[in-house]
Amino acid sequence: MWRAWIVLMLVAVLGLPQLALSAAGPQRGGTLVYSLDGSPDRLDPNLSGLRPAQIVFFQIFDPLVVRDPKDASIKPWLATSWTVSADGKVYTFHLRPGVMFQDGTPFDAAAVKFNLDRTHNPALGTRCGGCAVGFYESTEVVDRLTVRIHLKSPWAPFLDAASLFYRMVSPAGVAKVGDQNFGQHPVGSGPFRFVEWVPNDRVVLERTPGYAWASPLFGRQGPALLDRVVFRIIPEPSTRVGALQAGEVQVTTAVSPQDFQRLAHDPKFRPIVGLAPGAPYSWAINVTKAPTDDLAVRQAMEYGINRDLIARVAYGPFQTYGAYRPAYTLLSPVTWGYDKQSEIYRYDPAKARALLDAAGWKTGPDGTRRKGDQRLVVVFNAWEHGIPELVQAELRSIGIDVHVGIYDALTVNENQRKGESNMSPLPGARTDPDILSAWLHSRNVGSGGFNFSFVKDPALDKLFDAGATEVDPARRKQIYAQAEQYAMDKAYMLPITTRDNVSLESVKVEDLRFDATGFFPWLYDTWLQP
């Protein structure tokens, strides 16, 4: 009997507060205001790959499948099951019945075909960076709820792309307003539907009534909890965080380290940290432009920068939360396929100097090394302050003169493409290690590709091709480990820090979760404390 009393007491002491809390559990209603650091270009997943646009339209459009952040497995969403052919070239999806677009038209195999074809229609000029451009062949409608996607050659990241970038738009919606206007009048099948877009100010969404096809990973079914979501566009970081403090917005992304430090411990706010898989904040090194065509110069840079110090000075406050750590190889430690063996360059300025000496770069009178009449000048472009200045200071001490230029992203990319800079950053949050082929495969040199190192290395191409087609996970992991070791040995890129999602939310916001990339919120589950 006395045992029962103890149990009861325990329940009372431990359980009652829990009960009280859960009584105030998920509440329906309210408007969440979420700030963005840039304006969407168009709310059209077939044609846009811009992050602010994706954050918004991922709420409006559902994907066929979704990657579970917990175990990185692929889970159903609009497709209930799928198979991949033995040769890796045909993906068959069985679609969920009863799914409706927000305009009342049904979602079916023909809609999937419409979306895939539209994404790969060159006349429309897609900007979807992660889509199967170059691999996609055709889509075949097998029956109303079965669809078969054919690739020209095997491409292992296809399911990953399907979980992120292939989002289903309503064909009737596109037909109604036209391809170019659809991005201003989006119609999807997602938990939220479009209300209005005031350019450069806000995008307003409201709950889709009757939504009943959430992915099983949410553990819940039915319409979203929030009445409305307002995305406020506030590019200025100090203004953005000011809006959070003033209570005008409840979630603010891309917080600066010093604001983060100041507000993370404020009882009114909660930090949100998502560690991003994929490529860390790496710099492409142009191997065709002097002086970075010299392996010794590239390796000297790898040895010559103190990544620990750089990460601490630039991003110290984030590191308490495990974010923005020093990065020594091409994939961040939380990525499937990350290989610790490839972390071959520890900070060693003596070794860096020795490498340069041996390669004939002798210290000149101004402290900068030279070879003949050539000064050791490396042009380094970026779109953000911080890392560039620190790298500049570090490399100056080993005799490399770094010319830094801080421009907008388009100019940075253009300069690297035209060979006016030696180095420029390539952040790439992706869940699949195939992201590396976008940076270093020879087919991505020139004409809009992102091989900004201009590496054309058959050995590396072979590894990437094998990685893209290998279906056995263990063997595939092995291939990427080899590729990382090989590319780091050649110092094709300069990884510096990881680049993670660091945001702040009001304590009133509950159950705000992020997808497997760490950057895209799922607002389906999110609710507000009254």
Binding site: S238, D259, Q261, R262, V313, P388, E389, I406, Y407
Partner: protein, 297 residues
């Protein structure tokens, strides 16, 4: 924000009182502020010429041990996000900001003088064409023209200053043209002409010396505007590049620290504001002394 010169023709140059009287008059009117402004500008100019007067550190040297420390005896203006001494950066930044603004002003003044004098002197069709072109350029207010030029040339401090110089040229040309027109009517110029002097010679010997004071006033007033627009372009990310210390870009990066580390933005901002204030006060003074009817607001 911008230099907009009054549309329409120049008011007639007034009969000028003897220099000395005007100077005394002007001095009496605003003795204290202008003395302070002169003194401050002289000091800033000295620092720009010899930054070591105020700077105790290398302006680009980083020191991770003292990142973002407030003002102390060692670092009177505190340190920035890289542990650099802000006072030293402000001192070297004076050299950059003031020096490059000289470039911009030199461009606008020389182009403006050449265009204004020749257009006013030759009159007729040439003048009409030039003035219409200037009218078109002046339809793009101030910073917009500079922004367009930066788009064409690409970002960077030198390009930004060229952009500002070009941006101010139409307004300057118009004022100089007005001054030229009012002088051209004088009898001695007609006399020189009739004695067979070439156009170039008349312009050089007779017109230029007489529009000199206008050009000088324009240069003084335009100089402050050049610094201000230069800082604005840097603020928009189109100007100076790291690690070059420049006031506008210092303020640009300091934006993020205003709530946590006020000194990073406030102290350089105060120096920039005080410099612009002093240039405006001194510029007004110079204008009042030389040609009170000129107005560039």
């Amino acid at each position: 924000m911008t230099a907009a010169v009054r549309d329409g023709s120049m008011p007639e140059t007034p009969g000028r009182a003897p220099w000395r009287t005007m100077f005394r008059h002007a001095r009496r009117r605003a003795a204290v502020p202008s003395a302070a402004a002169f003194a401050f500008l002289a000091f800033v100019a000295l620092v720009a010429l010899a930054p070591r007067v105020a700077a105790r550190y290398d302006p680009v040297e980083m020191n991770p041990a003292v990142v973002l420390t407030g003002p102390t005896a060692v670092h009177p203006f505190g340190t920035d996000e890289f542990g650099r001494d802000i006072l030293s950066r402000v001192a070297y930044g004076a050299r950059t900001s003031l020096g490059y603004a000289v470039l911009a002003t030199a461009i606008s003044v020389s182009l403006g003088t050449v265009v204004g004098v020749t257009s006013g002197f030759y009159a007729g069709t040439f003048d009409a064409v030039v003035m219409r072109a200037i009218d078109v350029l002046m339809a793009f207010p101030g910073i917009l023209l500079a922004l367009i030029v930066v788009t064409l040339l690409g970002p960077g401090l030198t390009n930004a200053m060229i952009a500002i110089g070009v941006g101010q040229t139409p307004a300057f040309s118009r004022v100089v043209r007005g001054a030229t027109l009012s002088i051209k009517g004088n009898q001695y110029i007609e006399a020189a002409h009739s004695m067979g002097a070439s156009g170039a010679r008349v312009m050089r010997r007779h017109i230029l010396p007489n529009v000199q004071h206008v050009v000088f006033v324009l240069a003084t007033l335009g100089y402050g505007t050049a610094i201000l627009i230069g800082a604005s372009l840097s603020f928009l990310g189109l100007g100076a590049q790291p690690p070059v210390p420049e006031w506008g870009s210092m303020l640009e990066t300091a934006r993020g620290y205003l709530q946590t580390n006020w000194w990073v933005g406030v102290l350089p901002g105060v120096v920039l504001g005080a410099t612009l204030l002093s240039i405006n006060i001194v510029g007004d003074q110079v204008r009042d002394m030389l040609d009170p009817s000129l107005r560039i607001d």
